[in-house]
């Protein structure tokens, strides 16, 4: 029987930091990434694809700011901006993947599902917003926006300075329509879901679904989705071929296999940088903890050789 896998595409898979963000660049990067995933599709995996939205939702937030300034168009809250980005990116991936599948004579359909992800409104992240979003403001602009919109700001530590809005990044607890996502994938559709970490919502006292002004870590939401749809494997595609210990130090070591306990120990020892690998490791461990068989962290270009990449399992494979 075909294995079920969730593949989380990193930000670089769609748009690199050194690019301007034109649609041509985004489409080319997406096509390159999806070409590399053909190896998984040819092996007859059932796939659910999730994706980041950092640069895209950043641009949507900046456009909201600019549209208010020039044309007095009401700004949309963060949940709508994330939902917008799921629409645009989900469509782009779906359209291009259809062409890649056709090129390789792989008979699979593709469908993109707008995905709300539920968080706990008592998550302590709501009292400690840390995730930086949108544009960099001057101190006086930031103070004005704190008053007018209730936004919270933190000072930028980078050379150019300035202030940036911070929002909570709560832990995802469930994925709306997770059973449908599973069923669609098991029926042979490649499903695109939980983009940008999902649209964050919470359930209030009266059981109503309410929008949360927050963003959810994309890898964590993807690993939760993997566990909830009972996926066998969880792939995080990033810009390094392996997880390393002592990364970029003289005693740097490639970790080809990691069991849960060792990986967790290295994480606690601070072996993985908070800005990049640590959240991926947490997501990979989260998938195993919740019953998944194997998490793989690697580059998209390495999927051709399935022996590549760091494989994390509960116990070392013999």
């Amino acid at each position: 029987m075909s294995k079920l896998a969730v593949v989380a595409l990193g930000g670089n898979a769609l748009l690199r930091g050194d690019q301007k963000g034109t649609i041509d660049e985004q489409e080319q990067n997406t096509a390159d990434t999806l070409e590399n995933m053909v190896y998984l599709l040819k092996e007859d995996y059932n796939l659910v694809i999730s994706h980041g939205n950092g640069p895209q939702v950043g641009n949507i937030l900046m456009r909201n700011d600019a549209g208010e300034q020039i044309y007095s168009i009401a700004q949309m809250p963060l949940d709508i901006c994330v939902a917008d980005s799921q629409g645009g990116i989900g469509y782009m991936i779906e359209r291009i993947l259809r062409n890649v599948l056709r090129k390789h004579d792989i008979d699979k359909n593709v469908i993109s599902v707008i995905t709300q992800v539920v968080v706990d409104k008592n998550d302590r992240a709501f009292n400690d917003p840390r995730k930086r979003v949108g544009k960099i403001y001057s101190k006086s602009e930031a103070e004005e926006l704190m008053k007018s919109k209730g936004w919270i700001f933190k000072e930028e530590v980078k050379a150019e300075g300035g202030w940036r809005r911070v929002v909570p990044s709560p832990v995802p607890i469930s994925i709306m329509n997770e059973e449908i996502i599973r069923d669609l994938a098991l029926a042979g559709n490649v499903v695109i879901a939980a983009g940008g970490g999902g649209i964050p919502v919470y359930i209030d006292e009266e059981n109503n679904v309410r929008p949360a002004e927050a963003v959810i870590d994309k890898d964590l939401a993807s690993s939760l989705m993997g566990a909830r749809i009972r996926a066998d494997e969880f792939y995080i595609l990033t810009d390094v071929p392996y997880v390393y210990i002592n990364y970029k130090k003289p005693d740097q070591k490639i970790m080809e296999f990691l069991n849960y306990a060792d990986c967790y120990k290295y994480l606690k020892q601070g072996m993985f940088s908070e800005g990049s690998m640590a959240p991926k490791i947490r997501a990979a461990l989260n998938f195993i903890e919740k019953g998944g068989n194997k998490s793989v962290i690697t580059e998209a270009t390495k999927l051709e050789d399935r022996s590549f990449g760091t494989k994390i399992t509960m116990e070392y494979e013999n």
Copy 2:
């Protein structure tokens, strides 16, 4: 067995022309509209909901313009803007509908599907763009944009003048994932699909799916979806309770029932205004032509009394 119906929500259902477009207004309008649809849901219809996106995609286009002006952020093409609007609006409808269903103890799930709609690249609309989108430009700005982006402009006829981008509005020929949309609806999910007329794409000579810089009439795409998913009934919710003959004239007459032939005759006689009722009539006829049983044009608030509204069928009911 439950009937299957497609319900197309008009622009006013989500955002009225006299409103600013804040998220609070949009959410309130959406909640009011969905409350009125409870009567259909209680009668155990299986429903697919489509929606307009005029004001929302208009704002997205204006924000794209403003973001380029202030922050030099690359503008996205029209297909991505429509896809963005499907994400934001689809999510908003889904979240609010979940709350409305819960309030009325109706045990149904909701799912939003990003929907590409296929048009023919040889559609003559591509040689005759007419649909006005985005902001009003001065003549010199319009000339600049014709050169830099290849956009086509038409002069505004309204008092304030100016120039506006026009794009093709081709005829929709198929709905991607139409069988999945049908299956999800028959399984009891309320499906939100083909928002804003769908994301327009065409199939090129090599069978690749390509983006079309166009917009598709929302009611026409919805009626096609209705026919393709073999829906029994097709509802167009608008801001009048009935279709009228001699509308706003001394001999104005409510048409409670119309058969295909009479309705077609009135359309050809110019009885319905091109800016508002004529496209709805075309969509209603299109559904019947393609095998649907009944098209209904009415206000959302009138759904409680099912005898209300204009019912269009192939033959008059006896």
